[in-house]
Each structure stands twice: as structure tokens, then as C-alpha cells.
């Protein structure tokens, strides 16, 4: 079975641009979460979606937005990119509806902002 897939794997943008990152969860998983991992730090929670509704949002500015589609895939959008947005963006999926936190992560999308 396919795991969590993310695209693109690497991308380079310049300050002020916009980026869209995509994620397909494991088949049967209804919850998708997004995390940002800056070099040398642990992943930081950005968003969680369950059944297409936002379940939680971390401490990120409004430039960050996300949505979940009827097939449970998800997009993370970041507007007006800053140098500090350079990071590995991780998508994770789970069955949802519970609170165990056992998430399945994709390999991530590495964003570099110049």
C-alpha cells in the first residue's frame, strides 16, 4: 500500500511569491495534518483537517492556509513568502477521530525561499 505522498519534493521560490504544497494520505485515512520543520528543530504543528473541516491551527500567520478535498487529499498554501519560511513541510495522515497521535508522515516538501 502507498504511504503518504507529497509533492513537490523540492522547490525554490523567491520572497513575496506564493507556494502550494500537496499531500495524498494513506488510503482509508480521513485526517491530514501539516507540520513545518526548520533545520535543527522538531516539526511544528500548522494545521489539522478531518473530514474536510479544520480541526486545529498552530501558531502560524494568516499567510498560511490549507484545505482538504472530498478524496481526503490536502493542500497547504503559503502567501507572501519570507526567507524564514524555508523549511521542510511535512504532511501526516491518520484515521482521525481519536486522540492517540500516531501519525504517518510523508517524506516532506523542502521549500527554499531566496
Amino acid at each position: 500500500d502507498a504511504g503518504v505522498t507529497q509533492s513537490p519534493t523540492h522547490l525554490i521560490k523567491t520572497r513575496g511569491q506564493h507556494v502550494t504544497l500537496r499531500c495524498s494520505p494513506i488510503s482509508g485515512h480521513k485526517s491530514v495534518s501539516w507540520y513545518q520543520q526548520v533545520l535543527g528543530q522538531g516539526p511544528q504543528f500548522i494545521f489539522q483537517y478531518y473530514e474536510k473541516e479544520e480541526r486545529g491551527r498552530g501558531n502560524f500567520p494568516d499567510r498560511f492556509s490549507a484545505r482538504q478535498f472530498p478524496n481526503y487529499s490536502s493542500e497547504l498554501n503559503v502567501n507572501a513568502l519570507l526567507l524564514g519560511d524555508s523549511a521542510l513541510y511535512l504532511c501526516a495522515s491518520s484515521f482521525g477521530g481519536g486522540n492517540t497521535g500516531e501519525l504517518f508522515f510523508g517524506e516532506g516538501s523542502r521549500l527554499t525561499v531566496l
Binding site: G42, P43, F45, G56, L90, T100, G101, L103, F105, E107
Partner: protein, 110 residues
């Protein structure tokens, strides 16, 4: 405000010996704790977890201990194997919104 702390950025252990990774937390609302392992160019992989109602959970070579009064948990790996070399993240959760530590890089020396 670092609610989950891993104070050792790196640890080297000889193959066959025990590896002990430590983690401290500050938020009393955390009720579920997890360890994830990360290889370069891969996403984190779930390793083992423990609920706050327990003080120990074992899975093969991996054991997690939780000391709620000290707000401390540890991961024991025994015996350590070369394939265990990776970055280990401690994470805590009151739900599926995980708070991660900064990670400990474990190197197993053959």
C-alpha cells in the same frame, strides 16, 4: 516556549549496548507521548507510544518509561543496532496535534 525538551542533541552508543534517550515536558495537559525516528530524506516514523495512565510500555527492543511527577520520559533501546542510527523525536499530545522536541541524533558505533 519549548514545552517538550530533548536536552541531548546527540548520543553515541556502542553496538549491543543500551541506548537511553531522554525527554522532558512542561505542559500537564499532555496525556499521550510518542517517539518518532527519522532517517535523512525521510519523514518521521512512529516508533512507540505511552499513555499517561501507564508508566511503561515495551515493544521488542524498545521500552518507553514515563515519570509523570517529574514530567520526564525516556526511550530505552536494547540491544542497540547499527540500523538504530537516526534522529529520535519525542512528541506529546492532548489530541492529534503533536508538540515535538528538537530531537536527539543517535549514532550506534559498530
Amino acid at each position: 516556549d519549548q514545552q517538550v525538551k530533548q536536552n541531548s542533541p546527540s548520543l553515541s552508543v556502542q553496538e549491543g549496548r543500551i541506548s537511553i534517550l531522554n525527554c522532558d515536558y512542561t505542559n500537564s495537559m499532555f496525556d499521550y507521548f510518542l517517539w518518532y525516528k527519522k532517517y535523512p530524506a525521510e519523514g518521521p516514523t512512529f516508533l512507540i507510544s505511552i499513555s499517561s495512565i501507564k508508566d511503561k510500555n515495551e515493544d521488542g527492543r524498545f521500552t518507553v518509561f514515563l515519570n509523570k511527577s517529574a514530567k520526564h520520559l525516556s526511550l530505552h533501546i536494547v540491544p542497540s543496532q547499527p540500523g538504530d542510527s537516526a534522529v529520535y523525536f519525542c512528541a506529546a499530545s492532548p489530541n492529534e496535534k503533536l508538540t515535538f522536541g528538537t530531537g536527539t541524533r543517535l549514532t550506534i558505533i559498530p
